[in-house]
Amino acid sequence: MKKLNIFIFCILILLFYTSEVLAADHYYDNNWVINCEALTKNWGIRNFSHELRTHEACNYLPNQYFLFYREVNVFWYPKQYAAPELWYNVGVNEKFKDVSGNTLGTIGINDWTSMSWILPIGQKVNGGYNSEDFYFSSLSSKYAVYQTIVDASDLYWPLFTDKQITL
């Protein structure tokens, strides 16, 4: 009896995972190079360009709902910021809205990514990996807003850049 229970449990787990994989109906990949410049104390206007990559996949569920999964990576090119005495920080906020602009879901405060580095010269650093599942109705159209935030010790005010995708 005990062995049968374990067997059934394993089958259920297997079914759960295969259903997730098989039901991945759509995916969207986006890649933005974000060019931004801002006022600093010791360098005048400084370039803080970075790259945002997102991967989003939808799994359709019964009752017109779908499971929405996404991951975010921020790529940061330190060579341009060469002044190594500075600290740098880039974060990502994200929110999902319906066509009327009502927020459907946001990334949790503990999930949004923040990095503070002294970056090795000439190295390409990536970070900001983040993922979360959302349950949304598939009936109404919606869009996602990704916001990157760049900050540095020499920067007077952080840089905010919004990027929008219609789903």
Binding site: E37, N42, G44, I45, A82, P84, W117, I118, Q123, Y156
Partner: protein
């Protein structure tokens, strides 16, 4: 007795839950504020305000008053006021606690010590390098709203701003070269695979090199510096 103990346990758990919930709500509010802080109008206002404060504190007609001498370098009263206004206003706008005079002064002293060393070792930028940097800045300034708001608040022209900033920019280039030539080559390249280890080593070597510069430094606070309440330990 057991019931009373259970009550205490329940109340403790309840308090803990409320504290955690409060912290989450607080963080949520902070995050929302960050989103609101992204408006271009707010950004312009903030830079305009910085400009108006700089107008009050920096006197561009009087560039020959020095508050401190650092080896062969000097800190002008205008450079001090520029740094202080920038840092204090930045902290105020961001709701951070403002840095004290000592912290701001120490940061400038470290810059001057590196600049002094850079000049001795041929790392200070030549005229062509400085002119190239200024040319790039002129192009960037044309399309940047931050600087336009700052200049409007400060009520000075682009040429006056460049004239004031060019020594600070030249120092920044020298400092960057000092890091590239003195600090980076001392770091074991295998540490590049581990950012935390790299950062630790980077900080250790930087502090070591800075302490060497400080040990041999000759730092004099002038009467004008004393009047402004500047202390150096």
């Amino acid at each position: 007795m057991k019931i009373i103990k259970n009550h205490y346990l329940f109340l403790s758990l309840l308090c803990l839950t409320l504290i955690i919930a409060f912290l989450y709500i607080d963080k949520g509010v902070t995050w929302q504020k960050e989103l609101d802080n992204s408006s271009p109008e707010l950004r312009n206002n903030i830079h305009f305000k910085l400009g108006t404060e700089l107008k009050q504190s920096v006197n561009l007609d009087q560039n020959d008053i020095y508050i401190a001498l650092i080896n062969n370098e000097h800190i002008s009263q205008n450079e001090w006021q520029y740094n202080k206004t920038f840092e204090v206003m930045k902290s105020k706008e961001r709701n951070w606690s403002a840095p004290n005079n000592e912290t701001i002064f120490n940061e400038i002293v470290e810059r001057k010590l590196i600049v002094d060393k850079a000049k001795q070792t041929g790392l200070y930028p030549n005229k062509d390098e400085i002119d190239k940097f200024i040319k790039e800045q002129k192009i960037l300034m044309k399309s940047n709203q931050d600087i336009q708001s700052l200049l409007n608040g400060w009520m000075i022209t682009e040429a006056e701003y460049i004239n004031f900033m060019q020594e600070i920019w030249a120092d920044s280039i020298a400092i960057e070269k000092w890091y590239d030539n003195i600090i980076i080559p001392q770091i074991n390249t295998t540490l590049l695979e581990d950012l935390n280890a790299y950062e630790e080593e980077y900080t250790r070597i930087t502090n070591l090199e800075l302490s060497k510069l400080k040990d041999n430094a000759k730092i004099i606070i002038t009467d004008e510096g004393n009047d402004l309440g500047i202390l150096y330990k």
